[in-house]
Structure formats: structure tokens, C-alpha cells
């Protein structure tokens, strides 16, 4: 069914979400991007592609992930009922794998024989290395050397899975530089290489196809909520770095006017300090990594460094669809500082016995802020996008505990 003025009909045929998105890539990559789009359209029309995707999500990833009523957290907050979408229970421990499964099926369909990806904290790198192992394709992961040093367990995981981890020494040596280096590798290896981008950003059709692969989160949530409560939720909350878990949760609900949505940006030490990763709250529109979107940048368009305690949110941009949803007001975006996320991280551990990723803790912090102000008959869903085992060293360090 096509709804007139649907918010779910984006992007247009050139990959634009309003003024955002598009394809800003070097000429060498353009034919490849156009190929990818053709191949993706063909895959969308092919029931066998969807069947294989669904089957892997069920048997390999472990979907559907539960929608869990967080009874003690609800009691503690004393307002609306809180449900948690348990993406942290997926294979590899986060939502990232949903997208990787979809993209590696596309890679195979296109006859590509080598996989590359960028990673910040290592979650997308691990998910990519996992699917590359599963499909028997060689895989190179680009990771800033600063991140390699602070995420050793994930580096080792990727290597165990057979991936080559290439430390990136350029720029600030973090996620955006890893993405630059992946693009440089891709330009030099277009004939055989597929680039599995980890978030709903980059040149068209990546924002669209990543969103569609991640929409399984929202589609499941919708069905699970109807079964549990007989109605749709009143509010969805999800963390936003590039924003793939958030757009995956939000997109199936965009045309339901009674469902409110909050995307949570990492405010680091606070927006006013300039040390944050909140592209919408503290940035402006520009062009980077193949798309027009909100960016952290100076008056000359030079990209500025992002900061967040969560390596997965430590990126100076955001997916273009979020920029569009921000400007048209359909989704509200709220900042959350490192300290607030750390507090929420501990609250969920203690009240629910769930160690959330620091990314997810940002969404939980905003839930703690808002849920007490809502009536008890309201329903809120928070996306627990990943598990926090990877973050225990960072958290221990912040709490002054030596491991």
C-alpha cells in the first residue's frame, strides 16, 4: 500500500532524503555505485534473495530478538511501561549483523570475491568478519590505530574470524579515517571488492539498503507489541551514531502519527564544550563520505573531531535520513552526555541483569529522563542495540576501577 505523503517513500531515485543523501563519490566509484543499485533493485524483486536473508536471520543470527517488558526498570522509573528490544541477543552481540548478512548476500550476487569494511569500536568489524567467514570470502577491516589500541579484544576476535585488521594511521586515526581508508582501498580494487558499510550512511543506495536490512528491528517490534499489548507503542527511543539501529526501529512506524520517536545523540562532555559527537545538535549540513548530511565541521568545511565515551557513536556525521527526519520534525533528537550514559549503563545492569552497550546506554539515559514524566498507561520501547561486554574496560576506567 502506498500512502499519500508517506514518510516511508524516501529516498527519491537519486538517493535524496529531502536535501540530504545523494552520491558524492569519485568518478572511479560511480559506475560501481550504479551497479550496486541495479543489483540491489534486482535482489529486492527476487523472492529467493529475501528468503535466504530471512533464513539466515532466523537460524544464524537468532531472530526474532525478544521484545522484553522491563518490569523492574518500569517500577523504578514510576511512569510509562518500558519495553526493551533485545538486539544485544543477536549473534555477535549487536544489530550490526542484520545489515552484514544482507550486504554479503549482495556481494555474492554481484560476484565480488573480497570484502572490506571500516570499524570504530570493532562491532561492525566483528560482524563483517563473521559473515565473511560464513561465506568463505577474504576480508580486510580498516580500523584507526587509536581504536586498535583501545579495542584489543575485538581486534583479536576479527583475527580469529580470519579477517585482516589494517590499522589506519592517517588523520585522527579513528572511525572517520578508517572510512577514508576503506574508500581508498575500494577505489583501487573496484573490480573484485565489495565494501560493507556499517551504518545507514555513505553514497546512495547504501543509506537505503542498510535501513531496509535493519528494518527487521521495527517490523518485529511492531508485531511483538501488537501481540503483547494489542496496540502500538507511544514512544520509541534509540541511540544514533550513523543511526542504523535507530532507522531500523523507526522506519516501519514513520507513518503512524501516534508513535513518537527520539534519536539519542552522544553529547560527550556536553554540547557546550565542543567535545561531543552530536551532529544534529552541534553540527551543520555538509558533504562527507558520499552523502550530504549534518556534520561536525568548522566555518571552512573542515571536519572536526567527534568525542564520545562510546566508540560506536564517535563519528562526526549522521545518516542522511536522520538529517531529513530532524529537519521535518518527525523524529526528535536529544543529546546525552558520557556521564548520563555511564549512569544508565549501571542502572540497567543492576535492575534488569542486562549489560548494555554504551551506545544503547545513551538511549536508556534519555528513557530515564522521559519515562517518569509519562502516564502509567503509556508504552515506551528502547532499543538495546548491543551488549556491553566490549565496554567493560572503558566503564571500569571511568569508574576508577583497575581490571
Amino acid at each position: 500500500m502506498t500512502i499519500k505523503n508517506s514518510l516511508r517513500a524516501q529516498p527519491d531515485e537519486r538517493g535524496h532524503f529531502g536535501q540530504f543523501g545523494g552520491r558524492y563519490v569519485a568518478e572511479t566509484l560511480m559506475p560501481l555505485i550504479l551497479d550496486l543499485e541495479r543489483e540491489y533493485r534486482a535482489a529486492q524483486a527476487d523472492p529467493a534473495f529475501d528468503a535466504e536473508f530471512r533464513s539466515l536471520l532466523t537460524h544464524y543470527v537468532g531472530r526474532p530478538s525478544p521484545l522484553y517488558f522491563a518490569e523492574r526498570l518500569t517500577e523504578h522509573l514510576g511512569g510509562a511501561k518500558v519495553y526493551l528490544k533485545r538486539e544485544e541477543l543477536n549473534h555477535t552481540g549487536a544489530h550490526k549483523i542484520n545489515n552484514c548478512i544482507g550486504q554479503i548476500l549482495l556481494a555474492r550476487r554481484m560476484g565480488k570475491t573480497r570484502i572490506i569494511a571500516e570499524t570504530g569500536a570493532g562491532q561492525h568489524g566483528v560482524a563483517t568478519a563473521t559473515v565473511a567467514a560464513r561465506f568463505g570470502l577474504p576480508c580486510t577491516i580498516f580500523m584507526g590505530s587509536v581504536d586498535v589500541a583501545r579495542q584489543q579484544p575485538n581486534v583479536f576476535r576479527m583475527r580469529l574470524l580470519g579477517a585482516e585488521v589494517r590499522p589506519v594511521e592517517s588523520g585522527a586515526k579513528t572511525l572517520k579515517d578508517a572510512m577514508n581508508e576503506a574508500l581508498r582501498d575500494w577505489v583501487a580494487n573496484v573490480h573484485d571488492t565489495f565494501y560493507i558499510i556499517g551504518t545507514a550512511a555513505g553514497p546512495h543506495p547504501y543509506p537505503e539498503l542498510v535501513r531496509n536490512f535493519q528494518s527487521v528491528i521495527g517490523v518485529e517490534t511492531r508485531a511483538q507489541m501488537l501481540e503483547a499489548e494489542g496496540r502500538l507503542p507511544d514512544l520509541l527511543i534509540a541511540p544514533v551514531g550513523g543511526g542504523s539501529n535507530a532507522i531500523g526501529l523507526f522506519h516501519p512506524f514513520l507513518d503512524d502519527p501516534d508513535v513518537a520517536m527520539i534519536g539519542v545523540e552522544a553529547a560527550g562532555h556536553g554540547i557546550e564544550t565542543g567535545q561531543h559527537a552530536a551532529s544534529l545538535a552541534g553540527g551543520s549540513p555538509g558533504v562527507l563520505h558520499g552523502n550530504r548530511t549534518y556534520l561536525l565541521q568548522d566555518e571552512d568545511g573542515q571536519i572536526t573531531e567527534a568525542h564520545s565515551i562510546s566508540a560506536g557513536l564517535d563519528y562526526p556525521g549522521i545518516g542522511p535520513e536522520h538529517s531529513w527526519l530532524h529537519e521535518n520534525g518527525r523524529v526528535t533528537y536529544e543529546p546525552c552526555t558520557d556521564d548520563e550514559a555511564l549512569a544508565a549503563f549501571q542502572t540497567l545492569c543492576k535492575l534488569e541483569g542486562i549489560i548494555p552497550a554504551l551506545e544503547s546506554a545513551h538511549a536508556l539515559a534519555v528513557a530515564e529522563r522521559i519515562v517518569p514524566t509519562l502516564d502509567k498507561d503509556k508504552i515506551v520501547v528502547v532499543n538495546v542495540s548491543g551488549r556491553g561486554d566490549k565496554d567493560i574496560f572503558t566503564v571500569a576506567d571511568s569508574l576508577g576501577v583497575k581490571l
Binding site: A26, E27, M30, P31, N180, G286, V287, E299
Partner: protein, 272 residues
């Protein structure tokens, strides 16, 4: 319409030689050092200068130009300073073609109309934007064209015959053939593949075709100069600037002289 670019390529063709197109990163090692380096390019025998606009995230560049970008930004180069460097160059060299090359974000930051107007005021003849492909032309193309600035398009080994008309639509100044599917400054393409690509491009356009990526030695420049209308050299010059810093003008001038001599002799050798 006659422009500094078109008359330069016409003059070179009349002399039966390719044009020597040179690239340096503006503001490297400092904004103050750039004018003397540009003058050294002219004195050494360059025909066109591409002045690189530094960017924090040069996705299509290899290590040499990445480092140059960081040196330039670290020395405080801004868009305004870069345009001042261009405007001063224009005063010293009224007829010498000067092109800005860089990435979209610094060019569109204050709006494409602002950029086009200020570039025109500074005497810029053309713009090469790495990450604005023809499909994204409206981000920059209309503003530049209405300001009388050439938008120089790139063709690559992945630009096949079906796609070439899209690239040529709205292209002007010259066509820049990126001879390697890869980043700047690393390897050079095989001469045979360059020759067939240039023949293919020249059959499709009347624009001059300049060939770049990985060109370092006078021998390489000479081989390309036999078949192309222009030879682009970038990373090798940027390496000299990296090595000699503010003392680069001398070595840059000497290096450009050897390239220029090789290019001027290229077609004579072939004829002999």
C-alpha cells in the same frame, strides 16, 4: 569562448606538444610559502597550475597529498587565505591558467554561489571537484558555469563507453583522465592502456585530454605527452614540497624544467 585554459591548450597544440599541468596543495607547508612555489612552477615551464584546496578527509588521495593537506591545515590555511593566494597569483601572472582542485565540502560550505563568485573574483579559471560526479552536478556546476568558471570533469578506467556521455555533458576546460583506478601518487598505468583510453576519449570529445595519476619521471611524462593533450603531475611535486618545505621553490623549478623539456621533446623523438 576563449579562456586562459583554452588558449593555453591551443598554443601548446600549435607548438605540437602536450601541456604540462602541475598540482600543488595550497598552503603547504604554509600559506606564506605557497606564492614562491607557484612562481617556481611557472618559471620551470608549467602550462597550467592546479591549486589544491586542503581538506581534512581527502578520500581519493594517497599518503603524499594526505600529509600535504594536514601540513597546510596545521599551518592555518583557510578558504579565504587560499583565495587570496590565487588572487595575488593572478596579479603576478595575468594570463596563466589557474585551477582549484579539491573536495566538495570546503567548496559548498558557504554555498556554491559564494564559492563561484569568490573564485571568479580571484581569477580562477576552472574547478576540479573530486567528489562531485556528474550525477551531483547541481551541487556546484550551475554556480560555476554562471560565474564563467570551467568545471573540469574526471574520466577514469571505470568510465565505460555507456557512461562517457554523462561525464562529458557539462564538462569544459579540459577532460582529466585519471589513468589508474586508485588513489593519487602510487602506481602508474601501463602505457598501452593510457594510449587506448586517450584515443577513446578524444573520439568522444573536442576538449583537450590531460592524463594524470602516478606520473613522476620525465620518461613517463614524455611517453604520455606523445598521445595526450596534457600531462598532469602532482604527488611528485608535493613530495618535493614535503621534503624541502619553504626551501622548495628551487628544487621544484629544477624538477619542472626536466619535465617540461621531456614534454617539449616528446613528439620530436617520435617523429625522428
Amino acid at each position: 569562448m576563449t579562456t586562459r585554459l583554452s588558449s593555453t591548450f591551443t598554443r601548446c597544440a600549435a607548438e605540437d606538444r602536450a601541456a604540462l599541468v602541475t598540482f600543488v596543495t595550497g598552503g603547504d607547508p604554509t600559506p606564506e610559502a605557497t606564492p614562491a612555489i607557484l612562481d617556481a612552477l611557472v618559471a620551470g615551464g608549467a602550462d597550467v597550475i592546479e591549486l589544491g584546496m586542503p581538506f581534512t578527509d581527502p578520500m581519493a588521495d594517497g599518503p603524499a597529498i594526505q600529509r600535504a593537506n594536514l601540513r597546510s591545515l596545521g599551518a592555518g590555511t583557510t578558504t579565504i587565505k587560499l583565495l587570496e593566494i590565487a588572487a595575488d597569483f593572478r596579479k603576478r601572472h595575468p594570463d596563466f591558467p589557474l585551477v582549484l582542485m579539491g573536495y566538495a565540502n570546503p567548496m559548498v560550505r558557504r554555498g556554491p554561489l559564494w564559492f563561484a563568485a569568490e573564485a571568479a573574483k580571484a581569477g580562477i579559471d576552472g574547478v576540479i571537484c573530486v567528489d562531485v560526479p556528474p550525477e551531483a552536478d547541481d551541487a556546484l556546476g550551475p554556480a560555476l558555469r554562471s560565474a564563467g568558471i570551467d568545471l573540469i570533469r574526471l574520466a577514469t578506467p571505470t568510465t565505460d563507453a555507456a557512461r562517457l556521455p554523462t561525464v562529458l555533458e557539462g564538462a569544459s576546460g579540459f577532460l582529466y583522465y585519471v589513468s589508474v583506478a586508485g588513489i593519487t601518487g602510487l602506481q602508474q598505468a601501463a602505457q598501452a592502456s593510457i594510449e587506448s583510453a586517450v584515443a577513446r576519449l578524444k573520439a568522444a570529445t573536442t576538449l583537450p585530454v590531460a592524463v594524470g595519476f602516478g606520473v613522476r619521471t620525465p620518461e613517463q611524462a614524455s611517453a604520455i605527452a606523445r598521445v595526450a593533450d596534457g600531462v598532469v603531475v602532482g604527488s611528485a611535486i608535493v613530495d618535493l614540497v614535503g621534503q624541502h618545505g619553504a626551501g622548495a621553490p628551487g628544487p621544484v623549478k629544477d624538477y619542472i624544467s626536466t619535465l617540461s623539456a621531456a614534454i617539449r621533446g616528446a613528439r620530436q623523438e617520435k617523429a625522428a
